[in-house]
């Protein structure tokens, strides 16, 4: 193969000198099969933050609602989850940036054109709110301030869970940008799922009914949104089907579905707890105490599913940016149409 073949006067994207895999002839022309875009430089901390932040964000309103309803166990659980979520977020971000003071640069200005800027402010406001809210629920300190914090957190939380979708959508990475319509709902769904699951595990069957519904509903939402996303992406969804994101995407779907299903049945069974059917009891673990293991297991599956979902989307972005065809083909098609 000569420099000529490899420089795609011919219309094929073929291997570059360093043995990068050959893109099939069908693919559009490109420059030695090199990516048009520069790959995102983000590392594992970012998807991890997406998960933690998302979970915290959806936990806040749950904490408030439960607290208002007087479901103290659930309120405690949700507050703890929210607190844990915001607690790990800054460290994750800082470790990606390198130095702590660099996070402060984020707050030099507020830019509506920069989801990251918006997110930085949301996180900065959300964290204290959650903190005082948790203070009220867990330690019983400053109830009034705490309530205010809970209200604030409940309003900011959902934004924290979903702005990260805007952040990804607002890039030139095809698999992210072209998924801009579904991505927020994927994130919303898996945030609900993870928040619900975490609360279920902590609060236990008797108190976690709302959390379970939330988890099941969230998982369903994210599954539907994901399927819709991949359908819309069409060829661009390749990374989910063959790329390095494939195993994660699959596992995410599987775990979420399984978790949701199990939890649904468990809840349903628990709901019919008074029904005198020993057999049924035996497998649903109807009575609260005996239902806990299986519900917790389902919760863990949902958490893992939500985490892997973020990781899959992140990986897919890296692959998509690295694939010249992903960038060029749709644009070429657009131009030829015009």
């Amino acid at each position: 193969m000569s420099a000529l073949d490899r420089s795609h006067g011919q219309g094929a994207v073929t291997a570059a000198g360093d043995g990068r895999p050959t893109v099939p002839r069908a693919a559009p022309r490109s420059y030695y099969g090199l990516p048009v875009l520069n790959e995102p430089v983000w590392t594992w901390e970012i998807p991890a933050y997406f998960f933690a932040g998302g979970m915290a964000g959806a936990s806040a309103p749950l904490a408030l609602a439960a607290s208002v309803q007087g479901n103290r166990r659930l309120a405690r659980a949700a507050s703890a989850v929210a607190l844990a979520g915001v607690a790990v977020s800054p460290p994750l971000l800082i470790s990606d940036l390198g130095r702590p003071e660099r996070f402060l640069n984020m707050l030099r200005m507020f830019k509506v054109t920069s989801p990251m800027s918006v997110g930085a402010w949301i996180l900065s406001a959300f964290a204290p709110a959650v903190a005082v809210g948790a203070g009220r629920e867990l330690l019983g300190v400053a109830p009034a301030v705490g309530r205010a914090g809970q209200v604030g957190g409940a309003l900011l939380g959902p934004a924290l869970s979903t702005y990260t979708a805007a952040l990804l959508a607002c890039t030139a990475v095809p698999v992210w940008h072209e998924a801009r319509r579904e991505l927020p709902f994927v994130f919303a769904g898996s945030s609900l799922a993870s928040a619900g699951a975490a609360a279920t595990i902590l609060a236990g069957p008797s108190a976690s009914a709302p959390a379970r519904r939330m988890a099941v509903g969230g998982a369903t939402l994210s599954l539907c949104a994901t399927i819709a996303m991949e359908r819309r992406l069409g060829a661009l969804a390749a990374p989910y089907h063959e790329g390095s994101a494939k195993p994660f995407a699959r596992a995410a779907k599987g775990l979420s579905a399984a978790g949701a299903l199990t939890l649904a049945c468990a809840s349903a069974a628990q709901g019919r707890a008074r029904m005198p059917a020993a057999r049924m009891r035996s497998w649903t673990g109807g009575r609260s105490s005996r239902g806990r293991p299986i519900q917790s297991a389902a919760g863990v599956a949902l958490l893992a599913g939500a985490a892997l979902e973020r990781w899959a989307i992140f990986r897919a972005g890296i692959d998509s940016a690295a694939d010249p065809a992903a960038t060029i083909a749709p644009q070429r098609a657009r131009r030829d149409r015009a």
Binding site: S2, A3, L4, S7, H8, G9, A16, G17, D18, P28, Y31, Y32, L37, N38, V41, P61, L62, A65, Q69, D96, L97, R102, N105, M106, M109, K111, V112, T113, S114, P115, M116, S117, P158, A159, T162, A169, C170, T171, A172, V173, W176, H177, R181, P184, F187, A188, S191, G196, A207, A209, P210, M214, L221, G317, P324, T327, I328, Q331, R332, R335
Partner: protein, 284 residues
């Protein structure tokens, strides 16, 4: 997806008196001889570090592309020219050379998504990174539709062409344009360059250069027009350029809308989940 006017593209307003005529590059690749003087002059003037000693086997290109450590990149493409057939029936051999650079977009995604304001619009309408402000968040990198800006390993900050901001301030020509022996890199007021480019491409097409085409030469593209545009002899993708780039931030209003909706869904979801809960009933 309604476009919306970006604060940054109304830079003149934001500079008022200070604002200067918008300048940029017209890179006419039909005049390029691939000498790489631009690539080297840029590094010399801006003290850009060496970018790795790798033999790539991509014709005479051992640089690969633009990066934090390469702000001008000369592409080399060997091809059988589909347009002029040689007597062997095959296309005559042709060797395309083109010097790529940051486009200094009117709607510059890198700048718009930069959370710290490190990327800013200069009084010349160009897009520049303030190294001391950049916190290395890396958002600008996937935001750029051209794969221009990138993060440097050692300092963890983003770097790219500054259109020689320092030289512009002293009314000097950017180093790359200064070094270009054949005037393939033409620097000047954007309007003049655009006008000239139209004539040039017409002239070439008339002379039989059927592949000749302007790239990013007017305001009505996905990035609201580039400060650095090109005359190419083949399709943009052949040079590693996106055929129809779009500033992702254009879709941000819609994206924000859907994001708000999704956030609302979370609230609704929680509300739905807690309502009809029998707790209250049993407790009382």
């Amino acid at each position: 997806m309604s476009d919306f006017e970006l604060p940054t593209s109304s830079w003149q307003a934001s500079y008022g008196e200070e604002a200067r005529e918008r300048v940029g590059f017209f890179t006419d690749t039909s005049l390029c001889i691939g000498c790489k003087a631009c690539e080297v002059a840029c590094k010399e003037w801006n003290r850009v570090p060496e970018d790795g000693l790798v033999h790539r086997g991509m014709s005479m290109d051992n640089t690969g592309g633009l990066s934090a450590d390469t702000w001008r990149h000369v592409a080399f493409i060997e091809q059988r020219n589909a347009f002029e057939l040689g007597d062997d029936g095959e296309g005559g051999l042709r060797w395309l050379m083109a010097s790529d650079v940051c486009k200094h977009c009117t709607h510059a995604a890198c700048l718009e998504v930069c959370p710290t304001g490190a990327l800013f619009r200069t009084e010349f309408g160009t897009v520049v990174v303030q190294e001391d402000v950049c916190n290395g968040c890396g958002y600008c990198i996937p935001a750029c539709p051209f794969g221009v800006i990138d993060r440097r390993e050692d300092d963890g900050r983003a770097h790219k062409c500054t259109l020689c901001y320092d030289r512009l301030k002293d009314d000097q020509t950017p180093a790359c344009a200064q070094a270009c022996p054949t005037n393939s890199i033409q620097f000047g007021p954007l309007d003049e360059l655009r006008a000239h480019a139209q004539d040039r491409v017409a002239q070439l097409v008339q002379a039989g250069e059927q592949g000749a085409q302007l790239y990013l030469a007017d305001g009505d593209d996905g990035i609201g027009g580039a400060g650095a545009f090109f005359l190419l002899l083949d399709d943009p993708e052949v040079y590693g350029l996106p055929p129809d780039p779009v500033d992702p931030v254009r879709r941000l209003p819609a994206i924000w809308g859907l994001t708000a909706l999704a956030a609302g869904t979370i609230l609704a979801g929680v509300a739905a989940a807690v309502t009809g809960d029998r707790h209250r009933a049993r407790r009382r």
